[in-house]
């Protein structure tokens, strides 16, 4: 197929019927079938809606608490319900609102901001959403059945372990939250790969909008930040279910290990929540001032720096645990240092506002509210970073005030600014300015009335998480004010959400740019996204090329049609965004819904120990996932497709060029982080134990370990041979044979590994040493199962003729995971032998 090379914009008339074809391919399902939609525009909307629903639910819990604390010695709510309320409030807000809402906004805005028809894994987004939504609702419902967790949202053992929290309450948290984290990781994979691979041609990294930068960094932070807590929840659940004493001091465990793992996640999590919001601010402020962001490079640098520093702060949540002076000093310094990137951003925004002429619309008011609250929250944050001062205010209402200032100020206000700013992007018309200003005013006033007094009640000695207090301590008036403020704040939320309900009507076709913004999401949009994908030459293309909206809408840029006859988008290179190939995207499907619900069912039924139902849920999820994967790599066609400007692209890529290869690498990073956390736990427990392994326990036998390592390596070698065979187009039978042998090797390796454990004197339930090395073993076992599944799936595709030297993404991904698992398995074996060096 040859087409005349014609520069952009291509003013030649577009062929008739082209637009109709594009429309029909991207037609969303009608009526209630819309639930089977998978493209990110729809999933993004569902996602934002669900997150806002959880905001309301979590807010109601908060109002109940405020009612109880309104007066001293109140009888309204008893301690048992109250303890569930604050645990659920924290957990719902952090895990079901804050993290999901930032991902949701990303999924909603990113495709448009990147001028992509969609992000690379629509069904993965849909799956992540449904698992989160169904699982989240069931998790929330526990409060109605008196089985809601009551250990506080950071669930410190030993309070949350089997001895002090028998019953199901803690299990709901550990399993419920654990898998919602998995859904967050799925979202992060979509976002990271989407940003790296589906940018429009010409949008090099330094031309990405700040928000996209923020989401890229946040995606990375989720990938490294969530694994420690996933591991922690798994370990605590193992302790609860099988009495493996990771956190029990009398048996060599340490409750502080949990705190390290939790805050290793928990502190980055704060920035995972804040950075996207800061990104939104960096988008709204320039538009409202009608001037490009001052200090773009500095702001991006600040975001990247925050991402890194945020992993070095976690200990400031533990200053009161009796740390050595040197440790507190280091983390105190690091915690202060993170104020610098925040300062950079704040001053960049102020400078931008100074240079421009500011339009005082509702989004601007929310942004101003954000400044007022966030700056104060930042300042109290610096106070908390001062370790000696933290010894006083740690775990008091001062901290409660601080964290709400940074989270509500730093995240909720920008999100609502964003809602008012981007509502026209969704529905083609703005929300009510009048309701918006009322909402903003009430939220700002109510917020400060609710939370400023908490600084004072904290300084007056009020610890957090108390269900009642005496009237002799002088806390009454401050608490009463807080309660009144909380209800005013709620009224503000109510008005904003009412405005959304009344005035937000998602429209397929949108062609507005009400704030005269400069970024791509304000191009004319339809269900297929932009009509044609623009070539990008600057950071604010709509300002620099005023005719761009029209050109794009007339189909004068890349890919104004569907060249393959499928849903498709351009995949570009990760750094300089050169077009590389066309990615065929999947259409609407119920499979992600089924898989999501199945996953939720698996975990929740497991929690209530209904094993048959749980297994059924797991099977439904697995079958759905494999069914959707089966069609995920359509047969590549030999021809090249013309997308405009004489550029011709294939409809397939393999190896490191493929988007799925990137997703696999990201997944391996997650996997590796979990493993690294586990290894950290191993060495941590070593440092606090007298003698390692503690008497009378053994190190697993060296010779068997070597044998095991050899078997692991052999399986890797076999898979490498399979790759050569595939390249040489050997017979299917030969390749299958090699893969089957590799699987058998893995099984043999694991069996050997088991053998070294069972023959050594070490049991998981007796001492933390046994618990942690058995956890390492279990992790390898899990990978063994994974390899067996992936290997069998590869064989199945091979036999079905869906896999060859060109069409080999499944094979490549399996190969990546294979070598990774083997490396991990060998490292694990080595770790277990390290004590020999010291004995």
């Amino acid at each position: 197929m040859t087409a005349p090379a014609h520069g952009l914009p291509n003013s030649l008339p577009r062929p008739p019927g082209e637009l109709q074809q594009l429309e029909s391919v991207w037609e969303p399902p009608k009526g209630w079938r819309i639930l089977s939609a998978v493209n990110n525009t729809w999933i993004g909307l569902f996602y934002v809606g669900a997150a806002l629903l959880f905001l309301v639910l979590g807010g109601i819990l908060a109002l109940m608490m405020r009612l109880q604390l309104a007066v001293p010695e109140n009888d309204l709510i008893d301690f048992d319900l109250y303890n569930q309320l604050f645990t659920m409030h924290g957990s719902v807000m952090m895990f079901l609102f804050a993290v999901p809402v930032v991902e949701a906004i990303g999924i909603l805005l990113l495709p448009a901001m990147l001028g992509a028809r969609d992000l690379p894994f629509p069904r993965l987004s849909a799956y992540a959403f449904w698992a989160y939504f169904v699982g989240g609702l069931v998790f929330f419902a526990t409060i109605f059945f008196d089985v809601a967790p009551d250990g506080g949202w950071f669930m410190y053992p030993p309070l949350t372990s089997f001895e002090f929290s028998p019953g199901l309450r803690s299990d709901f948290w550990l399993l419920g939250i654990g898998f919602i984290e998995i859904s967050a990781i799925a979202g992060a994979i979509e976002i990271v790969v989407g940003i790296l691979r589906t940018r429009p041609p010409g949008m090099t990294l330094d031309k990405m909008p700040v928000y996209v930068w923020a989401m890229l960094i946040v995606g990375g932070m989720i990938i490294f930040g969530f694994p420690p807590v996933i591991l922690a929840t798994a370990l605590l659940e193992l302790e609860r279910a099988f009495h493996w004493p990771f956190f029990i001091a009398e048996q060599g465990g340490d409750p502080v290990l949990w705190q390290h793992l939790f805050w290793l996640f928990g502190h980055p999590d704060v920035y995972i929540i804040f950075l996207p919001a800061a990104g939104l601010v960096s988008m709204i402020v320039p538009t409202m001032a009608q001037i490009p962001l001052v200090g773009y490079r500095w702001v991006v640098l600040a975001i990247v720096a925050t991402g890194f520093i945020s992993f070095a702060l976690w200990v400031h949540h533990m200053f009161a645990t009796g740390m050595p002076h040197l440790t507190t000093s280091f983390f105190s310094a690091a915690s202060m240092a993170v104020a610098i990137p925040a300062g950079i951003q704040v001053f960049a925004w102020i400078a931008t506002l100074r240079r421009g002429r500011v339009q005082l619309a509702t989004p601007t008011w929310f942004i101003l509210g954000f400044f007022g609250i966030f700056v104060l929250g930042g300042l109290t944050g610096v106070m908390l970073a001062v370790a000696p001062y933290d010894w006083q205010v740690h775990d008091t209402y001062f901290v409660v005030a601080h964290l709400h200032y940074v989270l509500i100020g730093g995240m909720v206000f920008p999100v609502f600014a964003g809602i008012y700013y981007w509502a026209p992007f969704v529905s083609g018309r703005p929300l009510s300015e009048r309701m918006g200003k009322w909402a903003c005013g009430l939220m700002f006033g109510g917020f400060n009335l609710a939370f400023f007094p908490m600084h004072i009640s904290g300084l007056l000695g009020m610890p957090r998480r108390v269900w009642t207090y005496s009237d002799t301590l002088g806390w009454d008036i401050w608490n009463l004010l807080s309660t009144i403020g909380a209800f005013v704040l709620a009224a503000g939320f109510f008005i904003a959400l009412l405005d959304l309900l009344l005035h937000l009507r998602p429209a397929g076709k949108v062609n507005v740019n009400p704030w005269n913004a400069g970024t791509l999401e304000w191009l004319p949009l339809d269900n297929y996204g932009v009509r044609s994908i623009p070539r990008i030459t600057s950071r604010e293309p709509l300002w620099d090329t005023p005719s761009l909206r029209e050109e794009v809408d007339r189909g004068q840029h890349y890919l104004p049609n569907t060249v393959t006859g499928h849903r498709e988008t351009i995949v570009t290179s990760p750094i300089d965004a050169r077009p590389e190939y066309l990615l065929k995207l999947p259409g609407p499907s119920w499979l992600p819904v089924l898989a999501g619900v199945g996953t939720a069912a698996f975990f929740l039924f497991l929690t209530v120990k209904m094993f048959v139902a749980s297994a059924l849920g797991g099977i439904v999820a697995l079958v759905s996932i494999f069914k959707w994967l089966w069609k995920s790599e359509p047969a590549p066609t030999a021809k090249l497709y013309h997308i405009g400007e004489g550029i011709e692209l294939p409809d397939h890529a393999s190896g490191s060029k493929s988007h799925s290869w990137w997703a696999m690498v990201v997944l391996m990073l997650v996997d590796g982080s979990i493993f690294a956390s586990l290894v950290f736990a191993y060495f941590y427990l070593w440092t606090i134990t007298q003698g390692w392994p503690p008497a009378p326990f053994d190190i697993p036998s060296l010779s068997w370990t070597v044998g095991c390592a050899l078997l692991w390596s052999l399986s890797s070698l076999l898979f490498a041979i399979a790759k050569v065979l595939l390249r040489k187009a050997a017979s299917r039978a030969a390749i299958c044979g090699v893969i089957v042998s590799a699987i058998l090797c893995v099984i043999a390796a694991f069996a050997t590994n088991m053998h070294t454990f069972t023959t050594a004197n070490v049991q998981p339930a007796e001492h933390a040493y046994g618990a942690v090395i058995y956890a390492l073993l279990a992790w390898q076992g899990l990978h063994g199962v994974l390899l067996a599944l992936m290997g069998s799936y590869t064989i199945a595709r091979l036999i079905a003729g869906l896999l060859d030297d060109r069409r080999r993404n499944t094979f490549d991904n399996t190969r990546l995971m294979w070598h990774y698992s083997v490396a991990q398995g060998v490292v694990a074996l080595a770790v277990l032998q390290v004590p020999r060096l010291f004995s």
């Binding site: 007066v71 001293p72 010695e73 009642t468 009237d471």
Partner: protein, 122 residues
């Protein structure tokens, strides 16, 4: 009063205060200050054993609930509920009822009167 007049008053009641129950017996404690009494009750933490409306944290169930106290006919199941007796009883229950679980609590005569006054104000 004629029936018509009564019905007219009924309307007035309805409009003014919904449903108003006729007042009952109002015992009076000379020199007792109900507001002080509430403070004393809180100070002495009588709520460990009694539910006392208006006193923060008073949710004990060792002794009887003291809501509507003025309507109670008897004290401790043996004495008529009148101001003098109640004032004596709150100070030194064992001397009046030797088998009671309520200890003699140290307080002044005036405090006892205040407490009685508060209980009668419930």
């Amino acid at each position: 009063m004629s029936v018509t007049a009564r019905i007219a008053i009924g309307w007035l009641y309805l409009v003014l205060c919904g449903c108003m129950a006729p007042e009952g017996y109002e015992p009076h404690v000379p020199e007792g200050d109900p507001r002080q009494g509430r403070e004393v009750l809180a100070e002495l933490e009588c709520g460990v054993c009694h539910v006392i409306p208006g006193v923060p944290g008073a949710r004990g169930r060792v002794g009887p609930a003291l809501a509507d106290y003025k309507r109670n006919v008897y004290i401790a199941g043996r004495y008529p509920n009148d101001p003098d007796i109640l004032t004596r009883f709150v100070r030194d229950a064992p001397s009046m009822s030797p088998d009671t679980a309520m200890p003699a609590i140290e307080m002044s005569e005036a405090q006892a009167r205040d407490i009685a006054a508060y209980l009668y104000s419930l």
